[in-house]
């Protein structure tokens, strides 16, 4: 690629980033193709790499790399090989000190773009025309896949094979373990294939509406466009809705006394189990759990984001909060009627302002967006939450198997091996189980795991720069724009922030201005530290963070656009929000006073933390 001087500022070369002290050799836990290799230095220095802190806010454990490879195999397949999006192929990734940087592969040859345009129009047109039917098929495919995964058995390795093997009804355990592992991996791939089937087209319809609105009404706030399109009865809101219903039920049944601040789910359940009414409530809870407790406690791309089933303390904290609010006479319902009215009022209001000739286009684009957007909102529940939390648990079963045979000290350690190393360990385990030989694994793997854990801890102390390499003259990739909000303006902002300063800018995601004390939260397990009235500063949020939005006074995120989770929830709660600041978590420290101007997208650090 020709090296032109970009007008958008500059970032460090990825080859100049130094390995953190004490982390020497970190590269070995990642695949060779994910590294900035000398062999492709010239090409990679000329590309623009931005930290994907939306999906990978924390250093990447070795196994979790599968959640980079598979999604990018999926997104690239659909974008590049199925739909042939004219100007963009797929996404490449690299790892620096454990953090994941990505960039798009553009199509530069105009003839190729034109050729792809023909393919794209035909295939995307087919999808838009048959959307409802295709989405119906998609859902049944996903439900089928989730069912298969839940039924998949991870066998143990017994002293003697059961009689079924003798009768030819069952394969031997060595084969069954190998088969289960490869099937688990392939199911993950299949989920990621499904994940991206409809997503790009869904975002594209929305993006087109947004551009149309802005071309005609240049100052229309992004959140108004989002509000006109946003679904009302989407699945994503169901889990919390069910919790609110359970909270009301607890009060109706007179068992709300069990939901006291500071109690564990077990203590609450134990008290409930003592009364008839309490047992009825618990029965109702069991019904709600399938499937709504498959909600994730994070955006699902790391193994440590669990489901509500795995970490009941999270939904129970919400229950306690809802019960307390109800007793205090507060309204806890999501005001759906109000949201619906607001959505129609906005659409009518803007429609009225357009020229006669443009109203039909507006209506068509709005209807198309409303038709496709439920997918954009709902795929998260099926893929990122329900499937992925179950899938990590399946991997945990293999971890437990390896631990039982001494290959790992703890089942959880499985996530510090790559998926290929796990395959290798299982190879040796099944081999030595079969031969009765002495396995090397128990002395081979634990030191590797220990070293990697230490490196990841050190990586957590590092503040990755928002971007590396050479910014493009113009961002052309529709996926980067739609999914990550990477625009020319955003890159300029990041470049200016590399210089430092006490002001951060981002997308104005929810209006209003608030001053308060910042609380930097790096992962969902720290949300318990957040105190009433504080300003949440984080990489990004997910539905798992729901319990804290009633506590905080504003939100600032590193990554995300006006359709990000933080933006949507803050608008619902009426909290100011600035999203996509690039490095709020790196710049702002817990305890600092900050002002969040969600109307203009500006965050100002007012003073240092005390002490």
């Amino acid at each position: 690629m020709a090296s032109t001087t970009p007008a958008t500022g500059s970032f460090p070369s990825p080859y100049e980033v130094e390995t953190l002290p004490g982390c020497e050799g970190w590269e070995e836990m990642y695949p060779y193709y994910g590294r900035f290799l000398e062999s492709r230095r010239e090409a990679d220095e000329g590309r623009f790499w931005f930290w994907n802190s939306m999906h990978f806010p924390e250093p990447m454990p070795a196994f979790d790399v599968i959640c980079i490879d598979s999604p990018y195999q999926g997104i690239g397949s659909w974008q590049n090989r199925v739909f042939a999006v004219p100007p963009a192929m797929g996404i490449d990734w690299r790892v620096v000190n454990g953090y994941i940087y990505i960039t798009g592969n553009p199509v530069l040859d105009p003839e190729k773009v034109a050729e792809r345009a023909e393919v794209f129009q035909k295939r995307a047109g087919y999808y838009y025309e048959n959307w409802d039917e295709l989405y119906g098929t998609w859902r049944s495919n996903m439900e089928q896949l989730i069912k298969e995964l839940s039924e998949l058995e991870v066998p143990d390795l017994p002293e003697y094979e059961p009689d079924e093997v003798v009768r030819g009804e069952q394969n031997t355990s060595f084969y069954r373990v190998q088969d289960a592992y490869s099937r688990t991996l392939r199911m993950g791939d299949l989920m990621w294939q499904h994940h991206f089937e409809l997503l790009l087209l869904g975002y594209g319809a929305y993006q087109t509406l947004a551009e149309f609105c802005k071309a005609n009404l240049p100052d229309i706030p992004d959140q108004h466009i989002a509000q006109m399109v946003a679904g009302i009865d989407v699945i994503l809101f169901r889990p919390d809705q069910e919790l609110r219903r359970l909270a009301r039920l607890a009060i109706e049944k007179g068992v709300d006394g069990a939901f006291r601040q500071g109690r564990t789910p077990e203590e609450i359940d134990a008290e409930l189990a003592q009364s008839e009414a309490g047992r009825e409530w618990l029965e109702e809870l069991e019904k709600v759990k399938e499937p709504w407790f498959h909600m994730a406690t994070g955006d699902g791309l790391y193994h440590f984001y669990r489901s509500w089933l795995d970490e009941p303390a999270i939904p129970y904290a919400s229950l306690i909060g809802h019960v307390a609010a109800l007793r205090a006479g507060q309204e806890i319902e999501r005001p759906t009627e109000q949201i619906r009215e607001e959505r129609d009022r906005l659409a009518d209001g803007y429609r009225e302002l357009l020229d006669e000739s443009q109203r039909r286009t507006f209506d068509d684009l709005l209807n198309l967006s409303r038709r496709v957007f439920p997918y954009v909102e709902e795929h998260k529940f099926f893929c990122d939450y329900w499937f992925l939390t179950s899938w990590w648990n399946k991997i945990r079963e293999f971890g437990a198997l390896l631990a039982r045979h001494g290959f790992l000290e703890d089942g959880e350690d499985v996530f510090h091996l790559t998926r290929h190393e796990v395959a290798s360990a299982l190879d040796e385990l099944t081999l030595t189980w079969a031969t009765g030989g002495q396995p090397a694994g128990p002395s081979h793997w634990p030191p590797i795991v220990a070293r990697r854990k230490e490196i990841l801890e050190r990586f957590k102390q590092w503040n990755p720069p928002p971007a590396l390499g050479t910014p493009p003259e113009k961002v052309m990739d529709p996926t980067l724009i739609m999914l990550w909000g990477i625009t020319d303006e955003r890159i300029r902002d990041w470049a200016s922030q590399v210089e430092g300063g006490s002001t951060l800018s981002g997308a104005p995601a929810s209006p209003g201005t608030v001053e308060g004390v910042a609380r930097v939260v790096r992962s969902v397990d720290q949300i318990g530290d957040v105190r009433e009235g504080e300003i949440l500063v984080c990489g990004a949020t997910s539905p798992a963070w729901a319990p804290i939005f009633s506590k905080i006074s504003a939100t600032v995120t590193d990554v995300g656009g006006v359709m990000s989770h933080a933006a949507i929830v803050c608008r619902e709660y009426g909290l100011p929000a600035v999203v996509g600041t690039g490095r709020a978590t790196a710049t702002i420290k817990t305890g600092q006073r900050v002002r969040v101007d969600g109307t203009n997208g500006v965050v100002t650090i007012l003073e240092d933390a005390d002490g």
Binding site: F212, A215, P218
Partner: protein, 360 residues
């Protein structure tokens, strides 16, 4: 025409009264009829001007002076103007006209609850658009006028302006010059706590869903005259939310002269300087009025407004003037393919160039 009344209250006027009362008075009357809060007042018709010329016997002086004038000769035009103006200034306002002014002024005083309320006296051009009126000298304004006698003087000064040098040479150059005539508007002055201008679109981007509001402390002079950097707000017409705002330091403001005449410039007290001068209720009231004015005229408007001291909006919000926005850039049209087909536009988002070679 001879039957037209000499005066009329503003709220009784409609656009059909333009030939008799002039554009400004007719437009204010029309706004009042549409429920738009305009400060109360009254209007003088061209019949009042004609009565003045007739009863004072000035017609001969005017004709004489103009017939001796050489168009294009600056000195000769000035001499003619001076002769006519001096004669007019010494001529009394006809008794019938003065009586009606006194009665109408008393009505304004009663409505305002003041003995001698301050009024603005302005010329109201007839049969000409505003750019022509500027040439024709029909843009006189006298502010903070109190008392019948001073109102009469200001009315006469408006009439005199018909014979300013630019006005008479302008008419002399026209192929068929109309008989000089004008109406006059007399309107209660609002002692504004806050005032400013607003556009019913964003004049920078052309966005019609926005109201661009400039506001500063005190009377409108400071904003119109560019003596302060006003607070600058962009408000959504659809939701009433403030979409962008810049609060500036407003160093000075104009307040009514305690002596009762005109306005004086004072420093804004430090504690008010950097504070946004509009609260949420005021913004909501202004947005509401702006929408009504725009709907009323059927086009984007540039509106001067004021909020009376001590009033709680929506009470006390007044429109002082409204004119069509003529300079707004047209909103950029989306690069839609022919027919604005939604699906083709979605395709374009993914980099499919629209048929016909349009550039995205």
């Amino acid at each position: 025409m001879a039957e037209a009344p000499l005066t009329q209250t503003l709220d009784a006027l409609r656009s059909a009264d333009e030939p008799a009362f002039g554009g400004k008075s007719a437009s204010l009357g029309q706004m009042l009829s549409g429920g738009i809060p305009v400060p109360p007042g009254f209007a003088l018709s061209t019949a009042a001007f004609h009565a003045f010329v007739r009863e004072s016997g000035l017609q001969r002086t005017i004709d004489d002076a103009l017939s001796h004038m050489t168009v294009g000769d600056v000195d000769s035009v000035s001499a003619a103007s001076r002769t006519i103006s001096e004669a007019m200034r010494f001529a009394p306002v006809p008794a019938a006209v003065e009586e009606e002014i006194a009665a109408r002024y008393a009505e304004v005083a009663k409505a305002a609850g003041q003995e001698e309320p301050p009024v603005a006296v302005r010329s109201s051009a007839v049969g000409e658009d505003s750019s022509e009126a500027t040439f024709a000298g029909q843009q006189e304004t006298y502010l903070w006028v109190r008392g019948v006698e001073h109102v009469c003087d200001a009315v006469r000064d408006c009439w005199v302006s018909l014979f300013s040098p630019p006005a008479i040479s302008y008419r002399a150059r026209l192929a068929s010059a109309p008989e000089p005539a004008m109406g006059v508007t007399v309107q209660l002055m609002v002692d504004a706590a806050v005032s400013g201008v607003m556009f019913t679109c964003n004049p920078v981007s052309g966005d019609r869903s926005m109201i661009a509001l400039n506001a500063s402390w005190g009377l409108g002079l400071a904003v119109v005259g560019g003596e302060v950097t006003p607070d600058d707000l962009l408000v959504s017409k659809v939701t009433g939310e403030v979409v962008r705002e810049q609060v500036h330091s407003k160093e000075v403001e104009y307040v009514p002269d305690p002596q009762g005449r005109g306005a004086v410039r004072v420093d804004v007290p430090a504690e008010r300087r950097d504070v946004r001068c509009l609260d949420d209720a005021a913004i909501a009231a202004l947005v509401d009025v702006a929408r009504r004015v725009e709907r009323f005229f059927g086009s984007a408007q540039d509106i001067e407004w004021a909020i009376a001291r001590g009033a709680q909006p929506p009470e006390g919000v007044y429109i002082v003037q409204s004119r069509p926005v003529t300079t707004a850039p047209p909103a950029e049209k989306p690069p839609a393919p022919a027919g604005g087909d939604a699906l083709s536009m979605v395709m374009a988002t993914f980099g499919v160039k629209p048929a016909g070679g349009g550039q995205r």
